[in-house]
Amino acid sequence: MKYFLISIAFLTALFSPLSAQNKFLTLEEAFVLKAQVIKDKAVVSFELASDIYVYTEQVNVKVTPNTDVEAGEFTLPKGHDHDGEVVYFDGQTLEIPLVNKSGNSGIVPFELQVSYQGCSEMGLCYEPSMQLFNLDVDLSALSTTATTAADTDSTEDVSDVKEQGEDPITQLLSGGNLLYILGGFFIFGLLLSLTPCVFPMVPILSSVIVSHGSDMTTKKAFWLSMVYVQAMAITYTIAGVIAGLTGAGVQAAFQTPWVIVTFSAVFVLLALSMFGLFELQMPQSLQSYINRKTEGTGKGYTSIAIMGLLSALIVGPCVAAPLAAALGFISQTGDALMGGMALYALSMGMGVPLLVVGTGAGKFMPRPGSWMDAVKSIFGVMMLAVAIWMLSRVLEHSVIMFMWSALAMFVAVSIGAFEVKDEAYCHPCHAAKKSIGLMIALYAAALFIGSVTNAKSMLNPLERLMPVQGAVQSSVANASAAQNDFIKIGSISELDRIISESKGKKIMLDFYADWCTSCQELEHVTFSDSRVRQALSDYVLVQADITPNSDENKALSKKFGLFGPPALIFYDENGKELKEKRVIGFVPPEELLAKL
């Protein structure tokens, strides 16, 4: 694929009406370098003429051995993929920290070596070059211990958790439309008010509120109820803010797998309480204490407000778990402001039935019934969903997909997809529930298949079954990720060891890096092809992951004269490299098969 692209690039670039002679820029015109010392750093900037690119890995800055000055550690800015190689298309600025290694002071001269290698898209690769800069630095401005330059560091944090916040829910929470979040929490609160412990109490609560006022009018009733709800909201909002603040403080902890697993376990427990396995609520003693306090006959808005404030604390069994879940959710985001706003929206939602009844429109409300238990179950499912979502950061994709399929199936069965009801039951409702349930069950089945065939997409779980050019349906059987079959190495010594240990077997060495998109193509299109897998079955498969870009990684690439992945190197049974079989860049299954 890579070379196909290159040929296209050249065919278009070279098809100029100019005479059959290339006019290329000189090295100095193509790569314009500047270097200067700013306080404690050597700042190197280079500009690239148009159509010029530079190999990221070949960029290096060194200080010629000097008694007083040496270069500290720095990281190169992230490059871009160019047909499997990592390059810079535009100029960059590098900040190299300078370190005072002698402890002297004063201004001293030193020599900076900047090396690079690049090519022109028009069809010429410049020789590796180096420019020297004679600079001066004031030693007293330097520190004596090397510190890493944080500025040029990429934004990837080293963390145990993969897929940092890339899934849509995290995106929604971190940068998403606030309106959606608040809307969601409002509905959440509304649902909370429809639970068996809250909903039937609403009329009673309403009459209690109204009895606190004198000369009742509809307007006054409304305002009394509103005060109650607002007071409740205050308590919950504070709780939301606290959750956000605590979350912010322990953000780092939320990245560690064990914390995430524990958290999801908590959510699962909360879900179980929703399904009735056990009850979670504020201690009864505390509940009755607060109840007594609010029974006072004080008139007016103040007493209503106090009622509201305190009642928020009497979290009964239906509300406790979802509320805890909501707060836990908020603390994950670490956003106190959003936490407060979300919980406020939640309280408003919770207050809706109360306001409705308070204004005398109670007769429009549905009557309490067994449907309220369904609301509890909805919460249970929601909490399980959140638990799965949290685990998706730490567990394998196929495992997560399996969990989703199980949850979907659970929902389908609960709705009644597979139930047989007697004729007395409302037929249309039954039919509707059953059809919806069955459709969910079908999706759950698709997800199940997706999880065992290692499909990557939730929306396309059957992708592994789709006929790929020439591939037979045995792709379902040969499902495990190609990645697992490769021995991972990162250095020449590891490679040598494997070669010596594998005498008598053919070896295929695959050069891979996370940022190399062609490698992904190779894995998902070529390595996953059943015929390729078959042909590779008697090979020892080794993968050199050069993502870390350590010195050993670089030596390994250099050994084979590679600029970047992907590359496939083949060894025969005696450990000798079969140079003519080498593959650089992406190849489709048919091509690779021809080589094996």
């Binding site: 070379y3 290159i6 040929s7 050249f10 065919l11 070279l14 098809f15 059959a20 002679q21 290339n22 290329f24 000189t26 090295l27 047909d83 090519c119 022109s120 028009m122 069809g123 010429l124 690769c125 410049y126 020789e127 004269g561 590679l562 600029f563 140079k579 003519e580 080498r582 650089i584």
Partner: protein
Amino acid sequence: MLCSVSLFAQPEWMDSLDEAQEKALSEDKLIMLMLSREACNACWYMENIVFEEKSVNMFIQKKFVPVYLNVQSDDIPDRFPYVGTPTFYFMDGKGNIIGKRLSGALNTKEFIAKLAQVVHKSKELKK
């Protein structure tokens, strides 16, 4: 790198300039010197796309003795300076450089045009 994808014809590359000169003189041909290196996209393009073309190969076979030198591993005489790779030099059998060097890759059509230019120029020089 040259050995990698030779499904079709390739020029019969020599690796010694002296031997090439002998051959060129005895066969009354010109010399085409290619300076190349490993892991060079532009070089790869020439080697695996342009030099696989029958038309290019026929032309080269008739008129040139092709020489391939790797700037990383071979000694490149000073009279063949290069800014990058691939770079082509064209000479007569005596080693006199004909025309300007060719820096960089060209597509098939243009490369043949360049070869034709060189042949034309060599005839002029002979007169």
